[in-house]
Each structure stands twice: as C-alpha cells, then as structure tokens.
C-alpha cells in the first residue's frame, strides 16, 4: 500500500503532475475530450467551444491579475483588439488563419504592453480605473475606425481554411480551439515553473524586495501585460472565428467582469483555477436556462424571472466565494484531493 508521496529527483519534484495516476487520468480525459465531437449535438459543442476559448482568456487574465497582481478591467478591449485584428488580417489582407491568430495575439500583446506602462506608477484600484479607461478608448476607436474595423456594422469573418480543408463546422472548430487551449495551458504551467513566472509572482507578493533580489520590475510587469494580452488576443481571434460576425457590441465591459469572475471563482494565481472558473462561468447561464425550461411547466412565470436573475446569481456567487473560499475552486479541489490521497491512512 502506498504510504506517501516520495520523490527521488528534483525533476520529478518539479513535474506538473505529482503521480502517475494523475498522468493516466489526464490521458483518459483528453481521449474522451477529443471524441466529444463525434456524438455531441451541435448546440452542446458550441458551448464546449466557448468554454475552450474562455479557458484561454481566463488564463491570460490570471497571468496578469492572479499571478502578477495587476488588476485589469481592459480584458474585453484586448479581446476585441484580438478579434478585429485577426478579422482585418483575414478579410483585407487575405492571410490564412494560422497566421491571423498568432499575429492577432502579437498585436494585442503590443497594445497590452502599452496600456501596462502606467502600471509602473499606479496600482490596485487606480490601475483598474486606467485599464477601464483603456476599454472605452478601444471601444471608441473600433466604432470610429471604419476602414479597418467596419465600424458599428462590424466585420464578417471568412471561414478559416487549411488548404482546401475548411474549418466550417463546430466539430472542426472544436479541434482548433482545444489544440490551442491545451498548448496555452502547458505554456502557462511551464512558465510558472521557471524564472519568468516566478518573477511575476515575486512582484505580486513584494515588489520592493523583488527589486532588491534583482528582478527588473519594469521589464517583468510589461512582459506580464504582454503575455496576458497575447492569450486574451488569441481568445478574441477564436471568438471571431466562432461568431463569424463581430461588432463592437460583441465585447462589452461585462465580458471583462465575467472573466474577473472566472478567475476569482476558479482561483487567483492558479492555472487549474482558470480552467475551473472558465467552465463554471460559461456553463452558469446554460444551467439556469436548463432549470427554467424544465420548471416552465409547473411555474410558467419563473422563466422570465430566472433569466433575469443570471447577473444576480453571478454576483452572489462571486461574493460567496470571496467569503468562504477566497482561493477559489482550485484550492477546494486541492484540499479534497489531499484528503483522499493517502486514504484511509493519512498519517
């Protein structure tokens, strides 16, 4: 019987998965995940695709807010920049999607770094205000710069094509989104095992002593804004391919709030938490819809009320998590896992 978790090398001690069981579980999970398109109805697959995109975006925001400690409300704006730059590159310059997505990420990253410059002077609530201002500036530019963004009417995104193979169905889009999402998760996980990621966390915890330890605050804060915006920009580009038509209204400020909710409920400073949060917040309205439709027979008036209660429930959930589990679902999961790890002899 296993009586503990013992490591014999530093490489094993620093690996992402603690045990072989965890690795096998993940392999099984991924196998099941990639067979989903074969038997899942289109509507459900569409929701799963949205979850995949949300995972990429939530990790992006968590890198900046959860790991580096820089609160950002500019998330929706960054997403819009990713979506519109990918749209512009695809429609006006006729670039293929596999160039559009990384380029959109890079454009968003450079904009994110520009927005990040004030973070060297201001922090906390004031930075939140500055990034919120950035959101409205971006929104204004997108509405007015019609030659590039199509203005209020927006852009129609062409179907992404790989040679003659068109990624036109939800199932094909699923593969594209989840391949990118898995790469995004892996990259982020690795980042926080090495120098750059640890420097981010050091800045969050103690900026002054990080500087004394030799961390260049300016460089790493901007780098964090850059990486975070790259992720969010890629998520934006994928939203564009999924929605097929994008307009300034696709990215209201509530999207930024939703993403903040994801990382708070999932767990600030946790990659796994970003995933849980993204799944949870994306499923929340769908769950509510399911409940209301199933109850509509017995309580017909409930349908209208519960639909309107989405925001209310979202807000209450954030508050409940802040009070009872400020470290989010990831911490809860960690506790449960640890409890069962050596069951029944935990000592």
């Amino acid at each position: 019987m296993r009586c503990g978790d013992f490591k014999t090398s530093y490489a094993a001690d620093m690996s992402i998965f603690e045990t072989r069981t965890a690795r096998i579980m993940l392999a099984i999970f991924l196998c099941i995940l990639f067979t989903l398109p074969f038997y899942t109805p289109g509507y459900v697959l569409d929701i799963i695709n949205r979850i995949g995109i949300a995972i990429i975006g939530a990790i992006g925001l968590n890198i900046l807010t959860g790991f580096t400690g820089q609160i950002s409300l500019g998330n929706a704006a960054f997403m819009a920049i990713g979506a519109f730059s990918s749209g512009y590159l695809g429609t006006k310059l006729n670039l293929p999607f596999y160039l559009c997505i990384p380029l959109a990420g890079l454009i968003t990253a450079s904009f994110g770094m520009f927005v990040g410059i004030p973070s060297l002077r201001i922090k906390g609530l004031y930075l939140a205000m500055a990034t919120l201002a950035a959101h409205f500036i971006v929104e204004f530019i997108i509405v007015k710069w019609e030659s590039v963004t199509g203005g209020v009417a927006g852009l129609t995104i062409p179907t992404p094509k790989l040679g003659s193979f068109a990624i036109d169905s939800d199932a094909r889009l699923f593969v594209l989104i989840f391949v990118i999402a898995i790469l995004a998760v892996l990259f982020a996980k690795n980042l926080f095992r090495t120098k750059v990621g640890k420097a981010f966390v050091a800045i969050r915890d103690q900026a002054i002593s990080a500087e004394v330890m030799g961390v260049n605050i300016l460089k790493y804060k901007l780098l964090s804004f850059g990486i975070s915006s790259f992720y969010v920009g890629v998520a934006g580009a994928l939203i564009a391919y999924q929605a097929k038509i994008i307009s300034p209204e696709t990215f209201p400020v509530t999207v930024a709030i939703d993403y903040l909710g994801m990382i708070i409920i999932g767990g600030l400073g946790s990659i796994l938490g970003s995933i849980y949060g993204a799944v949870f917040i994306t499923l929340l309205p769908e769950l509510l819809r399911m409940i209301t439709t199933s109850l509509s027979g017995s309580f017909p008036e409930l349908v209208n009320k519960l639909a309107a209660m989405k925001e209310l429930i979202f807000g209450m959930l954030v508050i409940v998590f802040l009070i009872f589990e400020p470290n989010g679902m990831a911490a809860r999961w960690h506790n449960i896992k640890n409890y069962w790890k050596l069951y029944p002899f935990s000592h």
Binding site: N190, L191, K198, V212, G214, V215
Partner: protein, 258 residues
C-alpha cells in the same frame, strides 16, 4: 582596502534630516554592526547602502566603485544582498520558490525557453534547485521547504529571509535586525547561522541589531548612530567605553537639578 566605504552620507526627507555626515568603512570578511537608539537612522543607512534610498550628499563606494546612484538590482548584481526589518518575503510562494527568486540573476532562461520547459530550462532549474537545497540544509529548514511562507512561524520566516539572501550568492550581506522578536533559543540559532555564514562562506556582514549581548559578542567593529549622526565607532570594547554612547543610551550622568 575596505570592501565598502560610506563617506559623508547625508539624507533628507523633505525638511527632516535622517542622516548627516555619516562615514565608515567595512573591511572584507568582518561582521560590522550598526547600533543606536530608535530613530537614529540605522535602517535609513542600510537603505542607502542597498539602494532603496539615494542620499543627497556623500558617496557609497563598493569594491572601489561608486554605487551611490545605482538602483538596488544593480547592486545585487555586484554582490550585495539584504534582509528587511519587517519580513519582506514573497508570502504566497513556497520556501523553495522564495529561494529560487534569489537565483533570478543567475538564471538565464527566458520567456520561450521557460514556456517550453523541457531542455535547457529544466536543466537550469535543477542546477539552481541543487544550490538552493544546499542553503536549505545549511540553515536547517528542510522540513518546511514546500510550505507557503505566509503560513510559517515568525522565527522560521526570519530564517527563510536569510536563506533567500544567501541564495543570491552575495559577497556583502546586509541584515536589518535579524534577531528582532526572537526568543533566546531562536536568537542563538540565528547567531550561529550568521557566524557560519561569515566564516564558512566568507561573506562580509553589516548588521543592525538591538540585542547588545549579540552585537558585542560577534561583531568585529561597531558604528553607533544617534539622531542621524555617527557618535562613535571602533571595536565593541572601545564603543562600550565611549562616553557619547553611554550618554545616548543611558542619558547624562550628572543631570543638574535632580
């Protein structure tokens, strides 16, 4: 030649003069203590040396180079490390990660190599992990290496802060009240670690400390500050005899009118 020499340091905060005309030299390999009553300017002096404050006048020479205007991380690159009076660890990180931040300047993996991990970044991580483990063993904190620092007891946190400073591979170590708030046993441990650091690793130590027993026992030379001025300097014995020091600590001997 002195490893560090401060000459005529003057530091003002607005109209308040925190330090005026403080000069001293620290020799390679010694334990140098800065003492003085509360508000004497000891921490300000240490901040001038480590670069958090920049004095309005005077010069800080480190290994014959003028470092007065350099930012903190430049001085860290040149071999200075410090601990803080109010523990300034990375509270959300584990002990080992705190030490790994100390290896920041010695590591070279960037964004891309780090994100790919396998290959050079992993090899580098393991190499530096080994270095940190040596320090962990040296300071006897093996049992807490994976604990989150914010959850540790005060005495351990102080020790982790020393460990983090040592992970920088410093030549000069600045300690701001390393024994503050510790009980006798913890103080004895800390003194042992400081002496070992000094002797086995050959690291010069500048230390602010209020525990006079410790200061007089382990330091080679002492500098006494009072109201931002240096009032005495020399070996512990010389300082103990100095009338100015006695006056600053105990008050005037012949208080008239009493």
């Amino acid at each position: 030649m002195a490893q560090l020499s401060c000459s005529d340091i003057q530091l003002n905060f607005g109209g308040v003069r925190a330090l005026s005309g403080v000069s001293f030299e620290v020799q390679q390999g010694e334990i140098f203590a800065i003492i003085g009553p509360n508000g004497a300017g000891k921490s300000s002096m240490l901040n001038c040396i480590s670069g958090l404050y920049h004095p309005q006048q005077g010069k800080v020479l480190y290994e014959d180079q003028d470092v007065t205007r350099l930012p903190p991380y430049e001085r860290t690159k040149r071999g200075m490390a410090r601990s803080f009076q109010n523990i300034a660890l990375f509270k959300g990180m584990s002990v080992i990660d705190n030490l790994m931040i100390g290896r920041h300047l010695h590591q070279h993996s960037g964004l891309i190599t780090g994100g790919l991990y396998y290959g050079p970044a992993q090899a580098e991580e393991i190499r530096h992990r080994e270095y940190c483990e040596e320090i962990i063993e040296f300071l006897e904190i093996q049992s807490i290496r994976k604990s989150i620092v914010g959850t540790l007891a005060y005495g351990f946190q102080k020790r982790v802060e020393l460990a983090r400073a040592l992970a920088l591979e410093p030549k000069l170590l600045l300690l701001d009240e390393p024994m503050a708030g510790m009980n006798l046993e913890e103080t004895e441990d800390m003194v042992r670690f400081i002496l070992d650091t000094n002797e086995a690793r050959g690291i010069t130590i500048i230390m602010i400390e209020h525990d006079m027993g410790v200061v007089m026992d382990i330091s080679n030379s002492v500098c006494v500050l009072d109201f931002g001025k240096k009032i005495a300097g020399g070996t512990p014995e010389q300082v103990q005899q100095d009338p100015n020091v006695i006056k600053a600590y105990l008050g005037d001997e012949d208080l008239e009118g009493l």
